[in-house]
Subunit: 209 residues, 2 copies
């Protein structure tokens, strides 16, 4: 059975970098945005549309209380397109896992692939280092530079709430609750690449039990 | 400045074993019950009494709501002895840290020693493996063997609640909330000793930044 590492992360914690480096260190395939690309290829839909649908529509569906739904039924009904995209994403995640050893970022893969007994990693950081990382990453995006810390942090937290909502629609375990993961890594104050070889060792110990 | 590792743990997660092995691996001093022994030596009080006071009286103090306190003032008032023991424990934790590199288990050391910028570890496990570990550890304690899983689990959870209450009296961060720790390690399904060298590497990376 392939060895699967799933990586969930707070926005701005460096989780994506950690996942990519970990995959390289172990010689595993790496999947993140590649899953969206695959859905786009299978459906002919635009990648941005797919991403927007997954990140917003699914989540909004859950957010609207029933009383609100009665007034505005159109926003509360999850569309057939969304269901189709979600179902495709599930299948693609399963297909990817069946192909061989890999690191999968997000997509509630910890839950979707639980039968593989994956090594589940959660990556987080404190607000200050998330802000710093976001600003460094968006150094040529003037819109982000114009935002105050408070506004940027609000956006970061909203993205995390969306991730949590998406995960919790699919999984019985709560996103970010440590019980769902084998290890939770705080990247505050450390250089991501410095800890990758060590985390790779922990993954190997898990797979070689 | 000495390198300090603090280790907080759910009861039955193997945190104590992990702490001891980690200290051995790194050549650090190890403090757990040793702190109680030190308080006993400094006060002449019985170790069991000290332990009971820390684990129960401090916690019970917080648990009684004010309305209850009005009826039974004697149980709600934290005694001078308790305050004295707590204060001694704080001082001893600080003295220990000043002596040199060490691993300190519990005692809200992550908060008390925050000025040392310690490497804070939280160790946890799922219910099944905690039960298994407790039963294995208490193999010659017939009272534990007689307990049903449900009753034993209730006791385990009560001990953790006491630890959380004790920690949260002292710290502004919540016990077990991952933001308070550099790493949270789930020991479910792994042999503690297999991950100790790897965790020691993570500690070294933290101290050598």
């Amino acid at each position: 059975m392939p060895n699967i590492i799933t990586l969930s992360r707070e926005f701005g914690s460096g989780g994506r970098e950690l996942g990519k480096r970990l995959a390289d260190e172990l010689g595993f395939a790496y999947y993140d945005r590649e899953i969206i690309t695959e859905i786009a290829e299978q459906t002919g839909m635009n990648e941005n549309y797919i991403e927007h649908t997954i990140e917003n529509e699914v989540v909004n569906f859950k957010w609207h209380p029933l009383t609100f739904a009665k007034t505005f039924p159109q926003v509360s009904a999850i569309s057939n397109t969304t269901v189709h995209i979600l179902s495709l994403q599930h299948n693609i995640v399963r297909e990817i896992a069946a192909k061989g050893n890999c690191v999968i970022v997000g997509r509630a893969a910890d839950s979707v692939l639980s039968s593989y007994n994956p090594y589940n990693i959660f990556v987080y950081a404190d607000d200050e280092s998330k802000l710093k990382r976001c600003r460094a990453r968006a150094s040529d995006d003037e819109r982000s530079q114009d935002l105050s810390d408070a506004k940027l942090l609000k956006q970061i937290k909203q993205i995390d709430r969306n991730r949590a909502e998406y995960h919790d629609i699919i999984s019985s375990k709560k996103w970010g609750d440590k019980s769902a993961y084998n290890i939770c890594v705080n990247t505050t104050g450390i250089e991501i690449k410095s800890i990758v070889p060590v985390l790779a060792e922990l993954c190997k110990i898990w797979f070689e039990r």
